[in-house]
């Protein structure tokens, strides 16, 4: 058995999502290699080589790979696919984009969003916004899958000494999507998917100004990341990458504080695996209270300032 994990990184740092995906790879078993695709991401390759349990690190480099353009990533992975039984990527927006493309070119049905490895060919994944869990078994052939990082513990980032080899970056045929530009939201706060504490705001905030006035200082006081409900993002109160839910980010922090969020099924799908959930909402019947460990029926306008004071 040989497993290839496609690394998630920002060009210089190996993201924790990769370490969590490696944990799923270890549960499957066998030799584990890491492929770092990017635009000269040699620092990432060096970091991957130090991870415990990695046999070999492969690198593929081109400008399109630096932006994780799906066509380019599939082209880079395909020539390597023959040497592996299992190919995994964390379920990031990039992974969700290229893994199905790669799978189709291999004539494989991908297994999306693995949350548990039952055995080397059997996995659990959420369906219906997490209201049901499906246990699926591969019926032979290769396995191509995405792994939900929040469902796995990270492997140790050191202790290994794998070799680093350059692989063929593949040959684009000119038909691929071309990267034009990006708008990356810069923040000093922890990354939403990896934060220990997340504070999320909902539609109750009423405006973008109010959202940031209320949520930002609270997040800074707690060292938390800021999230939002779909309603708050749709209304323009918060940027799209704040969205927590079925189709946004899935988070599982130690503490999740939902403020002015009613708790639609689709939002719960993105945060119900948090260790401790706090809900602050003035509507005592809001569905969020059904899954909250600690519910406070109160208007956020008074509760959040009190909370700021109480936290000192």
């Amino acid at each position: 058995m040989a497993v290839l994990v496609i690394a998630d990184h920002d060009g210089s740092v190996l993201n924790e999502t990769t370490l969590k995906t490696l944990s799923a790879a270890q549960a499957i078993g066998g030799d584990i290699d890491v492929l770092v695709v990017g635009d000269d991401a040699s620092a990432v390759a060096q970091a991957a080589a130090k991870v415990a349990g990695v046999r070999k690190v492969l690198t593929a480099s081109s400008p399109a790979l630096g932006k994780m353009v799906a066509e380019a990533v599939a082209d880079a992975v395909l020539p390597l696919a023959g040497g592996y039984d299992v190919i995994l990527s964390p379920a990031t927006s990039a992974g969700k984009n290229f893994i199905p493309r790669l799978a189709a070119r291999m004539d494989v049905s991908p297994i999306i969003d693995i949350i548990e490895v039952v055995s080397a060919d059997t996995f659990v994944r959420p369906i219906y916004a997490g209201n049901a869990l499906e246990t699926v078994q591969s019926t032979g052939g290769k396995i191509v899958a995405t792994v939900r990082p929040t469902a796995f513990k990270a492997v140790a980032a050191d202790g290994g000494s794998a070799s680093v080899e350059a692989a063929d970056a593949g040959h684009a045929d000119g038909r691929e999507a071309k990267f034009v530009s990006e708008e990356v939201v810069k923040s000093d706060r922890p990354e939403l998917g990896a934060a220990k504490i997340v504070v999320s705001g909902g539609r109750a905030m009423g405006s973008a100004e109010e959202f940031h006035r209320v949520m930002d200082p609270l997040a800074d006081k707690l060292g938390a990341a800021v999230g939002a409900s779909r309603a708050a993002v749709d209304a323009g109160y918060a940027p799209n990458d704040y969205q927590v839910g079925q189709t946004g980010k899935v988070v599982a922090p130690d503490l999740y504080i939902a403020i002015g969020i009613s708790g639609a099924i689709q939002h719960l799908a993105g945060m119900k695996d948090s260790k401790v959930i706090v809900a602050i909402n003035k509507d005592a019947d809001a569905p969020i209270f059904q899954i909250a460990d600690y519910g406070l029926v109160a208007d956020y306008k008074t509760a959040v300032p009190e909370l700021m004071t109480a936290l000192g």
Binding site: N97, P100, A177, V180, Y294
Partner: protein
Amino acid sequence: MKVLVPVKRVIDYNVKARVKPDQTGVDLANVKMSMNPFDEIAVEEAVRLKEKGIATEIVAVSIGPQQAQETIRTALAMGADRGILIVCDTDPEPLAIAKLLKAVAGEESPNLILMGKQAIDGDNNATGQMLAALLDWPQATFASKLEVSGESASVTREVDGGLQVLEVSLPAVVTADLRLNEPRYASLPNIMKAKKKPIDMKTAADYGVDVAAKLKVLKVTEPPKRGGGIKVADVADLVSKLKNEAGVI
């Protein structure tokens, strides 16, 4: 320019899915079914392209049971011109759906395939990407903005960390995210008109596609339930519990 819009009949967005006691799947008997919300956004975008004079014909295609005709009628009432239903009593995997759609694209030669980024039942978020791969077309997934000009399209995508703009040459596959647009409600006259629009009835065999599953679903279970929580009296109580009971701050 011809636009192909695949649409799926799924459990209604507002209905909570319940697992069958025998663990074979989710109980869909007597449950309200609707068009997958992301597909609705894709139909709306296609109709807007037609209203701008960019698209000339919109073909809605569905793969599913006979009742998926209703889903196609919804698309027709929103502004699609005609429909194709590939009747299929099982729920094929994204790979098989992509193969069927590839065959449809082969017959229809669309310039653009606009579809939802994921269906809210299987939550795979895979069919668009797989279809683009099989057709060897470029893909632009999770679109929040689409601008078509001549032989190419500029697509703004919602990605981790913010937004990304890609340029794709047509034909291409674009998958819709939530904020691409807000779908319209079909007017009564348009609902009436939609009843007269043609729907071609097909089967998977017509396209020579094998829809047999490659993955075996061993069981479908309920997720673990969270233990019941408590209501706290006030902020002081909350902070004390978070510090002393939960130990998370």
